[in-house]
């Protein structure tokens, strides 16, 4: 069995679990709805003022929402003891990481589309002027959160106070994702072009953490 096949199998398994049980996706969707609805109550009525806050709010909502899903990304494996079997897969364990992170990425893209729709409905955000820029920010943001989140979620398996530990581990490391993504989203919403350095730094961040996850996952699953 090749590494890619293992990654694909893990990815399909996670997606199937998500779509069949709808636990993880459903909870994230409801949570995002509640937070966006709550925020809209306090949103300033002037459109320009509201628009200035939208990108940062969007990405903070996405970070909190994704945390809900990431915290459980290894739940099925640990509950049913499947992790011992995953470790035995006869390939580099980095592929298991890629499969898990890939599934998280697709789930996060779904959450982003849903949250973007909520922002349109509740906060009257018009995505059309810079749709490509916003979509690019969304994809890079989802990839970054999936890579960092999957790695750190694996690190907090079995720890006490796990629901406290994961955000503490994640937030300082994820800060660049929030800044890059909200800068790009702001440029998109304003109809402007984002600086190429931001795209480059963002892609580099995703690449570096994808690579770290791929290489250190061997050690993580070993224990």
């Amino acid at each position: 069995m090749s590494g890619a096949a293992v990654a694909g199998a893990v990815l399909r398994k996670d997606l199937r679990l998500d779509l069949r049980s709808r636990d993880r996706l459903g909870h994230m969707a409801v949570f995002a709805l509640l937070v966006v609805a709550l925020l809209s109550v306090f949103a300033p009525s002037a459109r320009a003022e509201r628009l200035a806050w939208t990108p940062a709010l969007l990405w903070v909502v996405l970070l909190f929402t994704s945390l809900l899903g990431l915290a459980r990304s290894f739940q099925s494996e640990t509950e049913e003891g499947a992790i011992a079997l995953l470790v035995q897969a006869p390939v580099d364990r980095g592929w298991v990481f890629l499969g898990k992170a890939g599934a998280a990425f697709l789930a996060l893209v779904g959450v982003e589309l849903w949250t973007a729709a909520l922002f349109t409905v509740f906060l009257d955000v018009d995505w059309s002027p810079g749709l490509a820029t916003c979509a690019g920010a969304g994809l890079l943001g989802a990839a970054g959160l999936a890579a960092v989140g999957t790695l750190l979620s694996a690190l907090s398996i079995g720890a006490r106070f796990r629901e406290f530990l994961l955000p503490v581990l994640l937030f300082p490391v994820a800060l660049p994702i929030l800044v890059f993504a909200s800068k790009l989203t702001a440029a998109g919403l304003g109809g402007g072009e984002a600086r190429p350095q931001i795209w480059l730094a963002f892609a580099l961040y995703d690449w570096v953490f994808g690579l770290i996850g791929y290489f250190v996952f061997d050690y993580v699953l070993e224990d």
Binding site: V148, F161, L175, P176, F209, V216, Y219
Partner: protein, 249 residues
């Protein structure tokens, strides 16, 4: 001259800590001489701060905080580098002695980083009018502090197990990789910086520069002594927890 003294101290303490960490029980007594060096250097540095460094014209006595704030950066980075080095070597060799070094470096690094973050605002409130500004250096340092405090949380919530050591080493590497991105991101978000640029390089009267340098040298030796004590503690903890050979329990 000042830069050379700091550099020599850092290298000497680093070499000594690496040597000490290989065989803590046998080499622990050598920490006495390092402690003695710190005991001589600290009063010397304080005397320089009080009697030798001139009073700054506009800020007066307030500016003396710099002699604590600036030197603390050296043991902070020293500790975090030691922690990353120890973590990476632990992943490679699975030798607990490297893990002890990683833990000791992170803990003592956090102490000095906290000191820097605590005394900074005491100076900033009268000088800038704010306790805190979301400035490039301040925010990056705060994130660095968050990362290493998270590292210590990770260790304490999974105390004693081998897993915790591995996970902490991995997190140390991830945290270190995040730092340049955090720096760039904060730069992007804020655009400008209020923090004074590195005063040890230029524009500082020679007396002030020497006092800062003396602080750095003193801090490096205190750092070395504290890390050595932490290594001894880690060794004793490991020995206390290890199953005793030859004892029928």
């Amino acid at each position: 001259m000042v830069a050379t003294a700091v550099m020599v101290s850092v290298l000497a303490v680093l070499a000594w800590l690496l040597w000490l960490s290989r065989d803590v029980p046998a080499r622990a007594p050598s920490s006495r001489s390092v402690g003695a060096a710190a005991l001589v250097l600290v009063p010397l540095w304080l005397a320089l701060v009080v009697f030798y460094a001139p009073l700054e014209v506009t800020q007066g006595v307030l500016q003396k905080i710099f002699y604590v704030h600036i030197p603390a950066i050296i043991p902070t980075y020293f500790g975090f580098t030691l922690s990353a080095l120890g973590g990476a070597m632990f992943l490679r060799t699975r030798d607990d002695r490297w893990d002890h070094l990683a833990l000791a470096g992170a803990e003592v690094g956090v102490v000095f980083c906290s000191l820097m973050l605590l005394v900074g605002p005491i100076w900033a409130k009268p000088a800038w009018g704010h306790w805190w500004v979301w400035d490039l250096r301040l925010t990056t340092t705060l994130m660095l502090w968050f990362i290493y405090v998270a590292y210590l949380f990770l260790r304490s919530f999974a105390f004693g197990s081998d897993t915790a050591k591995t996970f902490a080493a991995v997190y140390g590497i991830a945290g270190l990789a995040a730092i340049p991105f955090v720096y760039f991101a904060v730069d992007l978000a804020q655009g400008s910086t209020m923090h004074p640029s590195d005063p040890s390089r230029e524009g500082l009267p020679a007396e002030m520069g020497r006092t800062v340098g003396a602080g750095m040298v003193a801090f490096v030796w205190i750092f070395g002594w504290l890390v050595a004590k932490r290594l001894e503690l880690a060794f004793l903890q490991a020995r206390a927890l290890a199953p005793r050979a030859g004892e029928g329990v």
